[in-house]
């Protein structure tokens, strides 16, 4: 069993499941949750790109020769994921506040009811 392939599969499944949720969701809370699932999936995907079987965390705790590196995991994708998690939280917080405002303005948290009253050209 190839772990990398499995993790890629997991990441893409999450992204596609979330995407399905975003496409079909009427309730705004559910759409934002589905977005969160997509973000989780892409974070997994990013970490997987720096993953090697039997890797150890990229923290230097004992000495090593630079010619023969220990099997460190790649630190760069991990750094990117840190950023991506925080960005995801920011988007979630902002969209929840927007939903509250939307609810105050339209009296609902369903998207399509308002959408129908306007001409939206795809």
């Amino acid at each position: 069993m190839n772990l990398t392939v499995l993790l890629y599969f997991g990441g893409f499944s999450l992204i596609l499941t979330g995407f399905y949720g975003v496409l079909t969701g009427k309730n705004l809370i559910r759409v934002i949750l589905a977005l969160g699932i997509m973000e989780a999936g892409v974070n997994l995907l990013l970490v997987t790109t720096g993953f090697k079987p039997k890797a150890i965390p990229p923290i230097i705790v004992k000495s090593f020769k630079t010619l023969s590196l220990p099997n460190f995991a790649d630190p760069l994708p991990q750094a990117l994921v840190l950023t991506s998690i925080v960005i995801g939280f920011g988007i979630t917080a902002l969209s929840l506040a927007l939903i509250v405002k939307y609810n105050e303005e339209n009296g609902t948290i369903k998207m399509d009811e308002v959408e129908n009253s306007e001409e939206v050209v795809e």
Partner: protein
């Protein structure tokens, strides 16, 4: 969107992804046999701008970057500009929520019992200590400014939930502002003393010591404070709008 149509889109996208990942044409694929990273080894051996030393051990002082946690060195030092953008995002979220949500000042907080009143501050005290430990040791151990700041913000949540007093977001705003100013100011000092924005002007220190990797440590401290203040001010805004429902 129609459920069937959405399912169709997902299936098509899935097939496209499958084809892309298992492309049999010649060239570089998504699953390289050897690690393709051009940059990771240089980060790990601290040899981005100088030659890699033969051996790296804790306590070395001549490295270009003294953080033992390589992820931290990437987040704060090698790609510090991204991190500036990241704290800016939280700042923008806090500012945005403050801009478009109406504040509701009139509400009566419920008074908590004595047990909560005495125990929660104690718990929050320990949470703050842990949070600051996490971001002060960010260059040595896993963790760092973001989780540390978030832990402190969680302490603030606890306070808000138990004490039920209206949270004053002014304090957070000032803290946030000061931390942000010092982040950019450190960047500008680097620009005018060393020649490029956010460049390390303090030296690397000894690998693995608490008082090492000065710039990383200071920046992570600032990030921790800033993240804690920003998250707290976001939560304060949420708290106020939640109270607003009760009035």
């Amino acid at each position: 969107m129609n459920k069937v149509a959405a399912l169709g889109v997902i299936v098509i996208l899935g097939i496209f992804i499958q084809m892309a990942l298992h492309d049999s044409n010649p060239g570089k694929g998504a699953f390289p046999e050897k690690s393709s990273s051009l940059v990771a080894d240089s980060y790990l051996t601290k040899s981005v701008s100088q030659k890699a030393p033969a051996e790296i051990s804790p306590g070395d002082t001549k490295l270009e970057n003294g953080a033992a946690n390589v992820v931290t060195s990437v987040v704060v030092d090698y790609r510090g500009f991204d991190t500036l953008g990241e704290v800016t995002i939280l700042f923008a979220v806090a500012a945005g929520i403050g801009l478009f949500l109406k504040k509701r000042p009139h509400f009566k907080p419920r008074q908590p019992g004595t047990i909560l009143k005495t125990l929660v501050p104690l718990a929050v005290f320990f949470i703050f200590i842990t949070g600051s430990y996490v971001f002060l040791h960010g260059h040595l151990t896993p963790g760092g400014g973001f989780p540390g700041g978030a832990m402190m913000a969680a302490g603030v949540v606890l306070l808000a939930l138990s004490i039920r007093k209206s949270m004053r977001s002014v304090f957070f705003k000032i803290l946030e502002s000061l931390a942000g100013i010092s982040f950019v100011a450190i960047g500008l000092i680097g620009l005018y003393t060393k020649g490029s924005f956010l460049q390390n002007f303090l030296g690397a220190g000894a690998l693995g010591n608490l008082y090492s990797a000065w710039l990383v440590m200071i920046l992570y401290f600032i990030i921790g404070i800033k993240v804690a203040a920003e998250l707290s001010s976001v939560i304060a805004d949420f708290d106020q709008m939640e109270e607003g429902g009760k009035q």
